[in-house]
């Protein structure tokens, strides 16, 4: 059975439900502390879970991005291992330049949300869709344009860049894997379809080789239908978020 390490920084709080999501998808999950790197190489993949690592001091994800374990995870990802960053994990991947990963430099930011009604932290259910043709570690079980209903819960989820060419470049390279849309799959830049003002409605970005994903929505919170609004009568059936974890399992086979 493939083994996935969930990296727990001080202040993360989503590690247990992330472990449940991984195990429901047929992989073994282990929660390891950020400073326990002894057996890091033994794992087939890594998840940086949600929460508030280092209390978002200075800004979200930046302190954890400087931790030595991130350099080790970078090296492991270069050998093809899978890395998934969820919410705060996505912020860490952006601040450590693992995402989008075109240069060895921070190319983007996850800026504070732009929301006409709510200042700061905002949580709601959104729709995202997979917008790329190529296969990556995270969409093997997801068809192009398939819509997933997944929750968000963040104050800084607004993908921004000062490079005017970056977004079109990522589009061409098929790295903009998930975008916010409405329930019919129509991508619209206005709130509430885009809940945080993210450039080009970006909800998730993969790296060039498709084995590192940073996404702001929480797939681990939609792994069973009972978690999803209006679908909870379907109980223990697989939820939309499960597809991302099952894709990882297929990729690692």
């Amino acid at each position: 059975m493939k083994k996935v390490a969930i990296i727990l920084f001080p202040g993360n709080n989503c590690e247990n439900e992330t472990a449940k999501a991984i195990e429901s998808s047929g992989m073994k999950a282990s929660i390891i502390r950020w400073n326990d790197t002894k057996h890091l190489k033994d794992y087939d993949g890594y998840v940086l879970p949600g929460g508030w690592s280092y209390e978002d001091r200075i800004r979200s994800g930046v302190i954890a991005a400087k931790d030595p374990i991130i350099e080790l995870i970078k090296k492991e990802s270069e050998s093809g291992k899978v890395v998934l960053g969820i919410c705060n994990g996505c912020q860490i991947l952006v601040e450590s330049a693992l995402i989008p990963g075109l240069q060895n430099d921070v190319e983007m930011a996850l800026a504070p949300n732009i929301n006409p009604f709510v200042s700061g932290f905002y949580c709601t259910w959104v729709h995202i869709k997979s917008t790329i043709n190529r296969n990556t570690a995270f969409n093997l079980n997801i068809k192009k344009n398939e819509i997933l209903q997944i929750p968000i819960a963040h104050g800084e989820g607004n993908f921004q860049t000062q490079d005017p060419n970056l977004i079109s470049c990522l589009e061409k390279k098929e790295q903009l894997i998930f975008k916010y849309c409405d329930s019919d799959g129509i991508i619209g830049k206005d709130f509430p379809i885009n809940p945080n003002g993210s450039a080009d409605n970006i909800a998730g970005i993969v790296n060039k080789t498709g084995n590192v994903l940073g996404m702001m929505p929480h797939p681990e919170r939609a792994c069973w239908m009972r978690q999803v609004p209006d679908l909870h009568s379907k109980g223990e059936n697989k939820g939309p978020g499960r597809k991302i974890f099952e894709s990882i399992r297929e990729y690692l086979k």
């Binding site: 209390e55 001091r57 200075i58 930046v62 200042s119 000062q162």
Partner: protein, 143 residues
């Protein structure tokens, strides 16, 4: 233009963590890091404004904050101001005007003033660029 600098009289855990991170990044010559929140107001008729605004508890909590209106620089310290390019302070300004009655505020901005105890401006710039400021939505100025 009225300026308000707000610091902490209790330990600043953000500054402490920042210093630890700066040292771990290899900038071992930085002896200390301090931080203040910065507010700048453009007002009509500033008579008594600073005295009043410094008593607003959403800006200055008397139990834990210090405040002043003039930056006095110490030698051996580099001062870096970081602003959020996307933040026009609309929510805070609306609260100050509509809820707290500061009708004479025409515009405002807020930032964070980092004070790095290092003799090297170059070191301070590198720390600003690699840690304190993400250029994709923030900008920094050396004061």
């Amino acid at each position: 233009m009225i300026e308000l600098f707000v610091g902490l009289k209790i330990p600043d855990t953000v500054a402490i963590t920042s210093l630890n991170t700066i040292k771990r990044m290899g900038y071992v010559d930085v002896k200390n890091v301090c931080r203040e929140l910065y507010y700048q107001f453009d007002v009509d008729q500033d008579s008594g404004f600073f005295e009043k605004i410094s008593k607003v508890d959403i800006l200055v909590n008397a139990n834990k904050n210090t405040y002043h209106n003039k930056l006095i620089k110490k030698s051996g310290t580099v001062y870096i101001m970081v602003f959020d390019k996307l933040d026009n302070c609309a929510n805070l300004q609306s609260t100050l005007i509509n809820r707290l009655g500061f009708n004479n505020i025409k515009s405002m901005r807020q930032g964070i003033l980092w004070m790095l105890e290092t003799g090297s401006v170059n070191t301070a710039k590198k720390i600003a660029e690699n840690l304190l400021c993400n250029k994709h939505y923030q900008k920094y100025t050396l004061m």
